[in-house]
Each structure stands twice: as structure tokens, then as C-alpha cells.
Symmetry: C2
Subunit: 492 residues, 2 copies
């Protein structure tokens, strides 16, 4: 397969697919809509997961694991949730295969092994978890219950995209139970902030914190908070959601606790999740026509060192310097790779690590050694500098911090340039078609208008930003009075 990428200008969507495949993040599989996460992509996911996991634990959560399958009768208990997911459920109906008598060597589903009750492969785990919480929660002393699960989930999507929308995906889902509404709302907001912090500080991805409109809420939630990011093609991407579930699941599964006042009360709930979709966001936010551009704080390889030499003697001299440098970098917790594989030429390696988005590349040649320098290239700006060997480790450490900041600022500038305040319908359509990005506009607050705008333009209300400015205005479509602007965009 050629390593040449389609350019973003040529075809943004093909560029994305090309990049994911050729950089070694993921591959298609034999299962419709499911992908294989390749080692490089999985190493990236592990880094993201480890940071998030620590943030969850630091905010008092514990991990647990609940079954993959949800019996149909439990699945349908919370009606709104069930209705929201029913159309995309993979369903297990049988528990055995047998030899196909008509086709030697082939198997068939054994009709005698039909399940009495079908099992839904979890599209999300509220039902199975709240059915369990019923046994775990008896008194106010059992609350709050703060649990997270790392798991695979399945949603039968008709149109899939690598990472962005796959039939099976990996995610984490937090499910918490509280004795008061206020505490549950605070938890919902706390976890939204955890996601926002992770996106901004680790993924270098600026996000808008907001609340979804009722039409865009998670099925079964009273309120859905979200973080929304902007991709390089001006489309928005929902990067994480945190739901205040009210007492909906507590009532559906009859989960009550004995309060300090000795009363039986329904429990308040939240759930929140981010998924491997974040990798799609990461790719689309920062990368360029030469390949991935990964933020240093989550890059699987932060620094790659390429030797340039002729003969064993030169190689030995370079090795000596490199080994010392690597020790220094590793001691600082930096992930570094020395690629001295002599099957590939330096030029090939440069292109390969550009494709893979390694933030810093160091090239050391024999002449550099004589001059006491090395060439340091940063992936984000492609700048190359000659750096004295004695300062190299410190220089690299600083550079990683600079690259992280630069990526964030670049993405933030892009988003600001692609956020437009609009007051009239014609301008609204024009901005969406020509400039794209977020459009901040007044909306009359009705689901009908929201739907009509979506039908006319394919733009949806991404969110009502938190702490939104309250101002009088007129709905861009209906002209009816509005008290605040909301953010519209076409979205992934």
C-alpha cells in the first residue's frame, strides 16, 4: 500500500480514512462496521485510558465490571432508554451451533438451543447496572456509589467510519447513585469538567462545555451535558457526554434507600462516557497532509532518534551518544525510540515517523557528532534546528511542552476563527455552506424549529454553552423571541 495520503483539500473524508489506515491506527475487519485497533492505535488508546482512569480514581470512583448481555426484560424496563437504543441492538437468540447435516464441515445455529429470553449485547449498561444497584443500595450509608466500567459496547450503525462510528467500540461508562438531586447534578458537572480538562490538557483539543437541547438528550436522561470540539473541516464533533438521569432508572428498577430521616426514597443517578471516538477527534483536529500530528502528552512515542552513518565505527560513536541521551530522556518519563534498523534509509524513516505523528525527531550523523550537535525536528511546525549535544535532553523536554501548547493554541485559534455570530437566515445558510464551523445564533427554544433548521441545513444545535450570555434576540428561522444564542454546526 502506498504511504501517499489523499490531501485534506482534495477530499477531507478520504484523507481521514487514508491516514487512519496508513499510520497504523486501525484496520477494517471481516465484521460489518467493526474495526481492528492496531498496536499503534491501541498504544494511543492505552495512554488516553490511563490518564482518564487516574482522573476518575482521583475523583473517588472505582472500577467494576458488569455483564456484556442484557436480558430483554431488563433492557425494556426504562422505556425511553429502550426506545432510544432498540433499533441498533445486536441480539443473541441461540447458545449453540451444530454440524450442518446438508453441508459437511459447516456449522449451523442449533434450533434446539434457542434462548427462552433473548439477550441484548449492551449498547450501554444503565439497565444491567441499575438492576444490580437495586441489591447494593439499601441505606444512605451505601451512597454515593461511584462506579466506572471500561468495556466494549455494540450499536448497530448503518453508516460506519473508523473510530468515529463503529458497530463495536471501546469506552468507559461511569454510573453513579446519589441520595440527593443536587449531589447528582454536581457529579454530572464534575465529570463533564474531567472530560473537558482531559481533552484540553492532554489531547490539546479545546472544547465547548454545554448542555444538549431536549431533542439531543441521551435516551432516558433528564439533562445531557457535553463537550463539543471543532474539526479542521469546520464540522463539530461531540467528544464526551455526562448525563443527569434524575430518578428515571431508580424508578424503572425500584432502587430506593432508607434516608437518615428513616424514609424510603428513590435514588438519583448520573452516567457519563467517552469512547475510542476520541481518537477520531484527535486525528481530525491536529493532523496534516503528511500524516498524524499527536500531542506529546499522549503520543505512544514522544521522541524518535534516527542515526545517519556509514560503517560500524561511525555507528558505534553515534550509539554511545544516543544511549546516554535515551537514559536521560527515559529518566524524565519520556517515551523514546531509537530506530537503528538498517533495512530502511533515514529518508524513509523520516517520512514514516511523520506519518505516525511522533512529536520530536532527532537525527544524528557522523558530521553532527564532530560538531557536537544533532538535528531536532518538531512534527507540528516541521521546523528543524541544530542543537548542541550537551543541551539536547533539556531542549527536547522543553520542546515537548511547547508542541503541546502550540497544538492547543492552533486548534483554539482555528475554532475562534470558525465561530461566527449570525443574526439572519440567509447569512446562517451562507456561513454554514462557505465557512462552516460553529454558528452562534438565536433560536426560539422549540423542538419544531430545531428540527426544521436541521432539515433545511443539516446543522444541529450542538449545545447551549454553560454560563451562556443571556440576551434578547429573535430566532433566525421563525423570528420569535429568544433569550440566548445557541451553537449550531454540521457535525460528525
Amino acid at each position: 500500500m502506498s504511504k501517499e495520503l489523499t490531501s485534506r483539500a482534495e477530499n477531507y473524508s478520504e484523507w481521514y480514512n487514508d491516514l487512519v489506515l496508513k499510520s497504523g491506527l486501525a484496520d477494517y475487519s471481516a465484521v460489518r462496521g467493526c474495526m481492528v485497533i492496531k498496536p499503534y492505535g491501541f498504544a494511543l488508546w492505552e495512554n488516553m485510558r490511563d490518564v482518564l482512569d487516574k482522573m476518575f480514581k482521583d475523583t473517588g470512583h472505582q472500577n467494576a465490571y458488569f455483564p456484556l448481555f442484557v436480558p430483554k426484560s431488563l433492557f425494556e424496563a426504562e422505556e425511553k432508554n429502550a426506545e432510544g437504543f432498540a433499533k441498533e441492538c445486536a441480539v443473541v437468540t441461540h447458545y449453540r451451533l451444530k454440524n450442518d447435516p446438508s453441508k459437511p464441515g459447516k456449522l449451523m445455529v442449533d434450533p434446539e438451543a434457542k434462548l427462552e429470553e433473548e439477550l441484548v449485547v449492551r449498547p450501554t449498561s444503565e439497565a444491567i447496572i441499575w438492576n444490580t444497584y437495586k441489591d447494593w443500595i439499601k441505606s444512605y450509608r451505601d451512597l454515593p456509589l461511584l462506579i466506572n466500567q471500561w468495556a466494549n459496547v455494540v450499536r448497530w450503525e448503518m453508516r460506519t467510519r473508523l473510530f468515529l462510528r463503529t458497530t463495536e467500540f471501546l469506552w468507559q461508562e461511569g454510573h453513579t447513585a446519589h441520595s440527593t438531586k443536587q449531589e447528582a447534578v454536581e457529579e454530572t458537572e464534575r465529570m463533564l469538567e474531567v472530560y473537558a480538562t482531559f481533552a484540553e490538557e492532554y489531547m490539546a483539543l479545546p472544547v465547548i462545555r454545554g448542555v444538549k437541547t431536549p431533542a439531543e438528550r441521551f435516551a432516558g436522561a433528564e439533562d445531557t451535558y457535553c463537550i463539543e470540539a471543532m474539526m479542521q473541516d469546520g464540522k463539530a464533533l461531540q467528544a464526551g457526554t455526562s448525563h443527569f438521569l434524575g430518578q428515571n432508572f431508580a424508578k424503572a428498577f425500584d432502587v430506593k434507600y432508607l434516608s437518615k430521616e428513616n424514609k424510603q426514597e428513590y435514588v438519583w443517578a448520573t452516567s457519563w462516557g467517552v469512547s475510542t471516538r476520541l481518537i477520531g477527534a484527535l486525528v481530525m483536529a491536529h493532523s496534516d497532509d503528511n500524516g498524524l500530528v499527536l500531542p506529546p502528552r499522549i503520543a505512544p512515542i514522544q521522541v524518535v532518534i534516527v542515526p545517519i552513518y556509514k560503517g560500524d565505527e561511525q555507528k558505534a560513536q553515534i550509539d554511545e551518544k544516543v544511549i546516554a541521551l535515551m537514559q536521560d530522556l527515559k529518566a524524565a518519563g519520556i517515551s523514546v525510540k531509537y530506530d537503528d534498523n538498517d533495512n530502511n534509509r533515514p529518508g524513509w524513516k523520516f517520512a514514516e515517523y511523520e506519518l505516525k505523528g511522533v512529536p520530536v525527531r532527532v537525527a544524528i550523523g557522523a558530521r553532527d557528532l564532530q560538531n557536537g550537535v544533532a538535528e531536532v525536528a518538531r512534527r507540528d511546525t516541521k521546523e528543524k534546528t541544530s542543537v548542541a549535544l550537551e543541551n539536547l535532553a533539556e531542549h527536547i523536554k522543553d520542546l515537548l511542552v511547547q508542541i503541546q501548547e502550540n497544538l492547543y493554541n492552533r486548534a483554539l485559534n482555528f475554532r475562534e476563527e470558525h465561530t461566527t455570530q449570525v443574526d439572519g437566515w440567509e447569512e446562517f445558510e451562507k456561513v454554514l455552506d462557505t465557512k462552516a464551523g460553529f454558528v452562534s445564533a438565536h433560536w426560539d427554544g422549540t423542538a419544531e424549529t430545531e428540527e426544521a433548521i436541521k432539515e433545511k441545513t443539516k446543522a444541529t444545535i450542538r449545545c447551549i454553552p454553560l454560563n451562556n450570555l443571556q440576551e434578547e434576540g429573535k430566532c433566525i428561522l421563525t423570528g420569535k423571541p429568544s433569550s440566548q444564542r445557541v451553537l449550531f454546526a454540521r457535525a460528525y
Copy 2:
């Protein structure tokens, strides 16, 4: 639920279930044969997983992720493997639910959403992975391919036991591809040794390294290596397996590589796995009638500190000492919990942490403070010692090492006491019925005899130990000539 456990002598099997449930490791679920892994059990699994994951990476493996579903046509491609698992497969046949017209508010499987090809929920991933490797392996330069996956798998078991045998379980499965048979065999043996090292050094669980008889091999393997452990009731437990798969999967999925000699050759394969079953082994190997006994190196909480005081002033004095002690222990990487929850009395806490198997308990009272000492109790022997506060941190660090060693030695002694060399049939049956444990005996090497012994006694050949002594003897059942002893036992 009472915290009283059934004793081992009374009913070993009930003791095990009681202990798993009451210590907070796991719970039953609404899904037949599936369990919920509770936070304490999952923290234990995370510790085990993290150690293993590092061992896999240190031996050159990378993690990746492959789809949960295996299309039936791929599943049946390697016939022996398919035959081995066909009877325990959960099968997805539909991808949508719809409202049940006859039952308002209820859902039913939508008959119009029937899959053209059924999807098997992976019972193991050789098929889906080797179908992918076909695209990844072209030349000898692509080999070896050393990949591991942490995943959930489903095997429809008729009789299930918490951790030991559940319909869904968590595991890791390594799948490697090699250019030569020798290299693949070496990999199989290397990973067996990784498992054995993990079991012995971290789980404090001595294991026999061996090879399975053909009848006990993994379906589709040329050779299955295993580690076998001994439980306190004298039954054996297979704790991990490593398979040399020959070229079976390469041939089934047509995976060839271009050799250095420019020839197309089939690839050689291995696979190897351990699962949450290890937690069952851990519980049954070390625990006692008062609760879990966890080896310090993988215990979620290594040290618990309980204050004993009256009034805020005493509490403040104790807090001061404890905070300093905790800093010291945490700096040494020790996981420590200070339980100063005043809802529970010290006696209740002592019992609770005994139940949870925390290796070291420190109690500090007001009078202790005056005397400059604390009471240190070790979970394994239940010994209590008064230790001077200034030596406390060092004492605890040493004690954790001692406990780890003691658990291993205790289990090793138990196994040695419960390994019996037997030369006659009557004695064979008697030992199995009265003393249990491993029985080392001659076997004529035929599957018929193996099966006959199993039918008569329920004992199976656990393994032929590696580097087994070669000696002439007579099969205990048939009297036919035999060249070596093998290990029999009744097993989980």
C-alpha cells in the same frame, strides 16, 4: 447478609461461594452464568493485569483489539477449533428490536432484521485474528508478529461457578506468528514461563509446568502447555495455557509469507491465555475460614490502619502519627488505607479487613501512643506484635515480604504433602478418595486408558511435567509398559 462464612471443613464449595460474595469480590447477575466483578475484585484483577501486561511488553508483545463478533464462515474455517467450541457459542442472529404490537411498552426481536450470516460472540479469537493476519503478513520482515489482546469472551457453560467457570469472562489472549516452527515452540514455552513466574512470584501460587495429553489439548493446537496449581481441597486447577498451533490456522486462513529464500511458506502460530479464573485460584489456594488471604504483591490494600481512641484530642494525636506513617509507606509504593470512619467500631473493622484479606493491619490506640508503639497483625498467621513507632514503616515493609514468602512456602508445602507416588490401582483410587491432591502414576499413553481412568475415578491427567523423569513402569490401569509418570488429579 451475615458476614459469617461457612467453614472449609463444613462445605468447601459453600465456603468458596460465601467468601467471594461476602468479601466483595463478585456478585451474581441477572444474566445466566455471568457475574458482576465488584470494585474490590476488579481492583485485584487490575493489579494482576498490570503486572502481566508489563511482562508481556517486556517480552516484546504489543496490545491490539479485534472484534467481539466472528462471522460463522470464519469461525468454522479451522475445523477442529470450531468443533471444540461450537457447542458453547452465543450467537447473534438479529440486529434490531421493535415494539411488540401485542404487548404495549414491550419489545420483540424484529424478524425483518435477521442477519444474512450469523455472528458468533468470540469464545476465543484465533479465527478473527488469523483472518486479519492474512492481510498483515506478506514477508519474513513482518515476522514475528507478537500481539496480545485484553478482552471479554463468552463460552456458554452449563454449570457455572463464580470466577472459576462463568459464561462471560475477562482474559488476555496472545496470538503470535512466526517464520519457523522452532521459534513458535520457543514462544509457547517462553509464555508458559511468564505465566509460571507470575503465578509463583506474584500470586504466591506454586505451579507445575507441563504439557497436556492429546485428549486435553486446546481445540486446534498441536501442543498445549499448562501450569497446574493445587487448591486446599486437594483438587487441581489449570491456571494458564500456552498453545503451539503449528500451521493449522495459517492453512485454514491461507496465511503465507515470502521467505528470505523467496519461497511462499505457511506461518507458524502460538496462542496463550489466562483469565479471571486466576482470581478463583487465588482465593482457593490461600484463604481461610475468616476470609480472604491475599498475597501482598497483588493485594488492592496492602496495609490498613485502624485508630482506637476516645474523643477528638486522642484522635488528633493518632492522626498525626498515622499521616507521617502513611507518607512513608506510600513513598515506598505501598498501598495503605486509614480507616477512621467512626460509624464502625474497631472490632468490626478488624473482622472486615480480615474478611477482605488485607495482609497487614496496624492498630494504634491512645495508650499505644504513650508507649510509643503500635499493634501490627499479619493476616496469614494472625500473629500480633507490638512494634516501636520509629521502626514501624521498616517493620511493615519487611513483613509484607515475609508474608509473600510465607504464603508461597505454605502452598508449596501443601502441594508437596498432597503429591503421592502411586503404583497400583487400588492405592490410586484410595489416594484420590482419601488424601486427594496430585497422584503421580504410570500411564500407558493411550487415550482409551486416559478416558477409562476418568470414567472410573473422575481424575484426569493434569499434565506431563516438563523435564519429566524417564523411567520404566507399568500403567496403573492396564499394566502395559510406560516410560514415565504423569500427574493425575480431580480438577476444577
